[in-house]
């Protein structure tokens, strides 16, 4: 396993070096991409090794950064899951990136992109491996900064620099909170997680609560929980698509990893309100995320909000685990955690796939606006089929992996209704209701995303001229689609491993609750079961029988292709199709209390007569609650204070010299005063 670890690090490092050194042509692109794939494969192997063998892997490197305490690495079950998840998305993204960055050939940005991509993947892989405060924070910040530079790859567009600002601000806010949390855990001596765990056991409850809250804010900002999600819909569309896939698929899961590591592993769980807080934030993120996604016309923003929704769903499972653990319902806690981990892995697979598909669309047509797309299924059949698979998976429809993890989450939350405390029971009922609402709305959202983008008639000439993408991009997408199918079919084998990972974190002995009976998944009490494989097989069998029967017994007349009937209308133009805005309109009206839509219609009449309309312009916007009522006042307040502080910078050299002298005098005075005591 040490070999795999070094192979992983070397792979990514080589990729980075090659990107810098071999120029800006296809050779550098391919070499850095393939080196990254090797690194990712090694990472996946390492994670699989730890999961299968059951023993951890550790490596201490006290000589690196020795003055600050040295680096240390350890991979246990929890870290292995997240490392596997990262590598799962990293390999296809790297391959996809090879084709996608062809547009940057010959420009210096190519060097930066390749270098930062490998650095990003390396830091992100090392975060679950980190053992100890310094290592963790170092690679966490490395991950954030590398992704910032990747987001700014096309910095000439104004939206990109704005996105970068938001992103940097939110990550640094998160980092500050994390720093606070880690520093509150007593640091005397080495700071590996083993020592932190021991130290946390003797902390007073007030400090533990504070550490947890800081961890929720810091890791929640990275994960994209409401109300700290505002960077997601800005950064994801601005970044190149394989970077968005990595960010959405892997990076935001690092927030979940951090919360689990600090909250459950180091702090060892806490009072019930911890779980309730996470459940509340999760439920809110889930519902609001999907509501925002529904009204988006920009394909990548829609996918970004959908990531917020899925992080909310994962947080529901994580919060339930915390809650059940505090109520001593340990098998239920382990189950909830295993379900949440599985959803994290599933989401990495299908969200990565969807972002890559969106990138392919952007690459082929030059636009992300769904109102200008359509009919792409003809020009890009592979991409369309793969995007369809991803949409069915993320909508949580059987028999794919999204449905499996949703089923597991439903079953995991169900025991909460029987809890003795009525508050907990009511919370669980509300959480279940919101989870179900989210599932339904997500299905609606992805009918819109796939249907408007790929089906019917192209709504613009760019869409009509779309062509299929490079084979490297298609291969990347196919790999993730295969992963989705694998995760669903092999769920009966994967769940027991996840249960074994989850059990020690909540306090149960190693194998954990039994989640498998042969080829079916079952709940810990053995009462409810489900088998995605059998459902898929039945479905396939029925469709096959139906197809054969219809071919045999139905009319032999050949199929005729004609104009769309449309109740007898003669001409069918792209202007008559439903647009993305129109599709979401009923839901926008129903949830108008939340969206507070504003409409602006301006009509240009013909100068000679008001009966003839020359053009109509329609603009509609929804109220951005968080930006307007939470962030804008905060930002305004900070700006106000900054301006006050600005007065110190008077520009006069005398003033600066005076500051120096004043500071010196104050320092000497202070030393005198404290020395005398």
């Amino acid at each position: 396993m040490r070999a795999l670890f070094f192979l992983m690090v070397t792979g990514y490092a080589t990729g980075a070096a090659v990107a810098l050194g071999l120029g800006t042509g296809p050779l550098a692109r391919w070499a850095s991409g393939l080196a990254a794939v090797v690194g990712a494969a090694a990472g996946l192997g390492l994670a699989a090794g730890v999961c299968m063998a059951g023993t951890g892997f550790s490596l201490a490197a006290p000589d690196l950064l020795a003055s600050a305490g040295g680096l240390a690495f350890r991979l246990d079950g929890l870290g292995a899951v997240f490392l596997a998840l990262t590598s799962l998305v990293a390999a296809p993204s790297a391959l996809y990136g090879v084709g996608y960055s062809r547009a940057l050939d010959g420009r210096p940005a190519q060097r930066q992109a390749g270098f930062m991509l490998n650095l990003f993947m390396l830091s992100m892989s090392l975060v679950p491996l980190a053992d100890g405060t310094l290592t963790f924070l170092l690679f966490w910040e490395g991950m954030s900064l590398a992704s910032y530079f990747l987001v700014m790859t096309e910095a000439d567009r104004p939206e990109v620099s704005e996105a970068g600002q938001w992103y940097l601000g939110m990550t640094q806010l998160g980092f500050a909170c994390l720093l606070g949390a880690f520093l509150l855990l007593p640091a005397g001596g080495p700071t590996t997680f083993v020592h932190l765990r021991a130290a946390a056991a003797v902390l007073p409850t007030g400090t533990r609560d504070l550490v947890f809250v800081l961890a929720v804010i810091g890791f929640g900002a990275k994960a994209g929980l409401i109300p700290l999600h505002v960077w997601l819909p800005r950064a994801h569309p601005a970044a190149p698509s394989h970077v968005s896939a990595l960010m959405s698929g892997a990076m935001i899961k690092m927030g979940v990893y951090g919360l689990l590591r600090i909250g459950l592993d180091v702090l060892g769980g806490g009072p019930a309100w911890w779980g309730a807080l996470v459940i509340g934030l999760g439920a809110l993120s889930a519902v609001l995320g999907v509501l925002y996604a529904l009204t988006e016309d920009d394909l990548k923003r829609l996918l970004a909000y959908s990531s917020v929704e899925n992080v909310g769903v994962i947080a529901l499972g994580v919060g339930a685990a915390f809650l059940f653990q505090s109520l001593q319902m340990l098998p239920a806690a382990a189950f909830a955690l295993a379900a949440a981990l599985f959803h994290a892995v599933n989401h990495a697979a299908f969200k990565g796939l969807l972002f890559m598909g969106a990138g392919a669309v952007l690459h082929a047509t030059g636009t992300r606006n769904m109102n200008r797309l359509g009919g792409l299924i003809r020009g890009m059949p592979w991409t369309a089929a793969l995007f369809l698979l991803g949409s069915v998976a993320i909508a949580g429809l059987p028999p794919l992996n999204g449905f499996v993890s949703e089923w597991l989450l439903f079953q995991a939350l169900l025991p909460g209704i029987g809890a003795s405390s009525p508050l907990v029971a009511v919370l669980m009922v509300l959480a279940l209701g919101m989870l179900a609402l989210t599932a339904g709305l997500a299905a609606a959202c992805f009918v819109k995303a796939f249907g408007i983008t790929f089906l019917a008639i192209p709504r613009s000439p760019e869409a009509a001229a779309a062509h299929e993408t490079a084979w490297s991009m298609r291969t990347g997408m196919t790999m993730l689609a295969g992963a989705c199918l694998f995760l669903s079919a092999a769920s009966f084998a994967i769940l027991p491993r996840l249960s074994a990972v989850a059990a020690p974190l909540v306090g149960l002995p190693a194998p954990g609750p039994v989640l498998r009976a042969g080829l079916t998944l079952q709940t810990p009490d053995g009462l409810a079961q489900m088998s995605p494989g059998i459902v898929a097989a039945s479905l396939g069998l029925v469709v096959l029988v139906a197809w054969v029967a219809v071919k045999r017994f139905a009319s032999r007349r050949p199929l005729r292709v004609g104009e769309t009937w449309g109740c007898g209308r003669v001409v069918q133009t792209p202007r008559m199709e439903y647009t993305s805005t129109a599709f979401a309109e009923p839901l926008r009206r129903i949830f108008a209390e939340f969206y507070r839509p504003t409409e602006d219609v301006s009509i240009d009449f013909h100068p000679d007569s008001r009966y003839f309309v020359q053009s109509i312009s329609y603009r509609s916007a929804i109220l951005p609650w968080f930006e307007r009522y939470l962030y804008a006042p905060v930002i305004a307040r900070i700006r106000l204070w900054s301006e006050r502080v600005l007065t110190l910078q008077s520009g006069s050299v005398h003033a600066y010299l005076a500051y120096l002298v004043a500071a010196l005098v104050l320092l000497l005075g202070w030393l005198v005063v404290t020395g005398q005591r």
Binding site: I377, S531, T564, F583
Partner: protein, 313 residues
């Protein structure tokens, strides 16, 4: 008799009964409206006619348009294999529970909506948009009603829920049960496109939801979709019948018991069909933006069902 033969048998029985159910409802509505009406076996004749007709496909449509009817039909038939139509120890019970049933039906709706968008007609888009809205809003109710039922039994497994009511008959009138029945009844109206949510016999553009999505279909594809819609209605009715009043369902797999189960199933279907016919004759269609009120009301009923289960534990 091998239990594995039971699943295809259930599927066959469902396929045979479903068009008859639709026909019976139409006939009952006609009689209630003082009309002669077509005979109850009319849908069978319609299906036969449709299968023999030529298929016309829009030039704007893609392969999805031709594949969707099979997926919709397939999901509906797969669901009939999972619900307790005839017997309670279901052979595929370990493969799918009530949640799987609900989401398989949602799979069918998903593809039907996509097929509505494919030809590029505004009717299809409108139907797809409205259908997904109604389906999304019906989900929380369905989930809570399922959990109200499941919680008493401790499992979402359909066979277990039905067996529980069989073994303790007084459970059938428990307030939680009755409320869950009412909630699922309202969801049935929404999901199967019955008044007051959608009018199954209209073709006016402003009033159709299901019909709008399938407007471009013809011939065998239309036959498959109509059959799938009838199957969906049958499935919901059998859930209402066999989960809440499971008497008649076979607990041993002998030909006699199965025959009796089929007869009682047909009776329950007719009874529920009669109720639907009455409801449809008395109520006018709600405009689309009043449908969420109906679905909120059913959500509250489901919520009260869960509360009633809490209170009685």
């Amino acid at each position: 008799m091998s239990p594995w033969l039971l699943a295809p048998m259930q599927g066959a029985v469902a396929l045979m009964l479903a068009p008859g159910l639709v026909g019976a409802i139409r006939w009952m509505k006609a009689r209630l409206q003082s009309r002669e009406g077509s005979p109850p076996w009319q849908p069978y004749l319609e299906l036969r006619k449709l299968f023999a007709k030529e298929v016309v496909v829009s030039s704007n449509a893609s392969w999805l348009f031709r594949a969707a009817p099979f997926i919709v039909f397939g999901s509906a038939v797969t669901v009939t294999l999972l619900v307790p139509l005839l017997a309670v120890p279901l052979p595929l019970g370990g493969a799918g529970d009530l949640l799987v049933v609900v989401y398989l039906l949602l799979l069918g709706t998903f593809f039907l909506a996509l097929a509505g968008l494919d030809p590029g007609s505004p009717f299809g888009g409108m139907g797809a948009s409205r259908e997904m809205t109604v389906a999304a809003l019906a989900e929380p109710t369905m989930a809570l009603a399922i959990f109200a039922l499941a919680w008493g039994v401790g499992s979402t497994n359909l066979g277990q829920i039905a067996s529980r009511t069989l073994s303790t008959p007084s459970e059938a009138l428990a307030p939680g049960h009755v409320l869950a029945f009412a909630a699922i009844f309202l969801v049935t109206l929404a999901e199967t496109g019955r008044l007051p949510v959608d009018n199954p016999s209209t073709h006016l553009e402003l009033t159709m939801i299901h019909e709008a999505m399938i407007l471009e279909y013809s011939g065998r594809y239309l036959a498959l979709i109509e059959w799938a819609a009838a199957l969906k209605l049958l499935v919901f009715f059998s859930l209402l019948g066999n989960l809440f009043a499971p008497w008649g369902v076979a607990s041993v797999i002998t030909p006699g018991a199965l025959l009796w189960a089929a007869v009682t199933l047909a009776l329950k279907l007719l009874a529920l069909g009669g109720v639907i016919a009455l409801v449809e004759t008395h109520i006018a269609k709600l405009r689309l933006f009043r449908v969420p009120e109906l679905l909120s009301a059913s959500f509250i009923l489901a919520l009260l069902a869960v509360t009633a289960s809490f209170l009685l534990r």
